[in-house]
């Protein structure tokens, strides 16, 4: 019996842990490595229409409590990404993440991801540090709905929408995804944040603002998933501050059917998926849970 099997709608996964977008997923070989290391799937780096170098360094900093980045969505562009996808798709399930400035652009990028063999497409409606993209669109329910529905019309693979926690209208955004025909919501992306270096009197990141992730945001992510579970009936993928199986369980019990891991890969290494899988199996055996589904959303009871 594989207790770890789960599904995000029609996307079946042998293991519930997915590599989060932006984490060792800019190249084909890197995605293939993560797939062979215990992840159920990998979400690609968010890819746009044209190549982008991203924000200048410094664009990353971490402490024992949090991770902050403002990579600025670097990516080689959707056309160059074809060869990376070929390598990755041969190794396992790849969710193609895309970012764009309009519904039509989202739809077109998603179409290419489908052509490349993506198992689903993840719409980045939530990056907090790329002007004109991400959360700027992702906090407008009407816009979210039209991005999702236009993308749905363009592809036959499932469409997931990745949401920002930087809002008090998360439930409405979730419903907009559902109304637009979205197949799943992914929560959460990073929190908009800033780190200042007192000795210099300046923000550390070249972009000044960045996205907060890691341990610090887990309680916000779990709350977001719990809230979404009451707001929508499509599947939820949980992400934010997962470092071990107990963190993953919080998300599942809040209502997620699968989870993604990002920042923890820095501290724990790519082996983190194996160790979370082992912890989950042991926990489920001890507590008599037969499947991930058995635990999904039980914290609402």
């Amino acid at each position: 019996m594989n207790r770890l099997a789960t599904a995000v709608g029609s996307v079946k996964l042998k293991r519930p842990g997915i590599v989060a977008s932006g984490i060792l997923d800019e190249t084909g070989p890197s995605m293939a490595r993560m797939l062979s290391g215990g992840a159920g799937a990998v979400v690609s780096k968010s890819i746009g229409s044209v190549a982008k170098g991203g924000h200048a360094n410094p664009n990353f900093i971490e402490t024992g409590c949090w991770t902050m980045n403002a990579m600025g969505l670097p990516n080689p562009g959707i056309d160059a990404f074809r060869e990376e996808m070929e390598v990755a798709v041969a190794a396992g399930k790849v969710i193609g993440s895309v970012y764009a400035a309009s519904p039509a652009e989202f739809a077109s990028l998603a179409g290419k991801m489908e052509d490349y063999g993506a198992a689903a497409v993840e719409l980045n409606l939530s990056c907090p540090h790329a002007a004109g993209f991400g959360m700027e669109m992702g906090t407008d329910p009407a816009m979210v709905r039209s991005i999702v529905s236009e993308t749905k019309d363009a592809v036959s693979i499932p469409v997931w929408a990745k949401l920002t926690p930087n809002t008090h209208i998360l439930a409405s955004i979730g419903r907009a995804v559902e109304d637009g025909g979205g197949d799943a919501v992914v929560a959460i992306n990073t929190l908009k944040a800033m780190h200042i270096v007192p000795e210099f009197g300046k923000p550390f990141l070249s972009n000044r603002f960045g996205g907060l992730s890691g341990r610090a945001i887990k309680p916000v992510g779990v709350r977001a998933v719990f809230d979404l579970r009451s707001a929508v009936s499509i599947p939820i993928v949980g992400v934010g501050g997962i470092y071990g199986h107990r963190d993953a369980l919080e998300y599942i019990m809040a209502g997620a059917c699968a989870f993604q891991v990002g920042s923890a890969v820095s501290e724990m290494g790519p082996g983190i998926f194996e160790s979370i899988n082992a912890g989950l199996k042991e926990f489920m055996a001890e507590f008599g849970y037969k499947s991930i589904k058995d635990m999904e959303g039980i914290a609402h009871e």
């Binding site: 984490i23 780096k45 190549a51 991203g54 160059a80 000795e199 210099f200 070249s206």
Partner: protein
Amino acid sequence: MNEVVRISSAEKLNSSTWVIRFKAAFDARPGQFVMVWAPGMDEIPLSLSSVGETKAVTFKVIGDDTRKLSAMSEGDRLHVRGPYGNGFDLSSRKVLLVGGGIGIAPLMPILEAKEADAVFAARDGDEVAYCVPIAEGLGRRHWVSTDDGSLGFKGNAVQLVTEVLGENVYDEIIACGPEIMLYYLHRLCVERGIRCQMSLERYMKCAAGICGSCMVDDRRVCADGPVFTGEQISELREFGKTARDASGAKKKL
């Protein structure tokens, strides 16, 4: 670890190379590197050229950021993230260090830490002369090669190493330098059946093994490296051939 350090000394070693020394709280091993930043420049990776209580970075001015760094002096502050990377395995008994150009600097802590021979290779005498008194001070056997023959052997590092290997037996070669040098040196090691470790470079952003910008094949230079063994390198298809730019796009080396 993130630390704002104060420069305790800054010194020009030759026409293009500077060393900056500072005290920092973190512990480091030879072969590890740090991300260095101050306002007005981009953050860049630099290997540690001293790993004691007083740390140092030794760098060649090749663009804007290294130029800004070279303008800094005692008392100025730097933001230092790190140390990152695995560092060298120093367990082999008889070791030959092979440094090319600015790649010599990260090998200096090894020379300090253990009895080893060294080959210093550079374009010309100006680039490499500063190493000689250090190696002499430490009483280490060393050879110098320059492309133009202005100091020591005329020729490249690999040619000189081939000579040295004619008269000496080593358990391992530890090298750092331009990838083209490492490429041929690695081939030499494979042919001769000599173990080796080499420190690689790729474009770095996070340095913490998470963003994927520094990949060679499926390895993260920042976290799985920067030091790779000869066997690991043999499996890398991109080594010596391609690298990636800041967008992740492939380019020929």
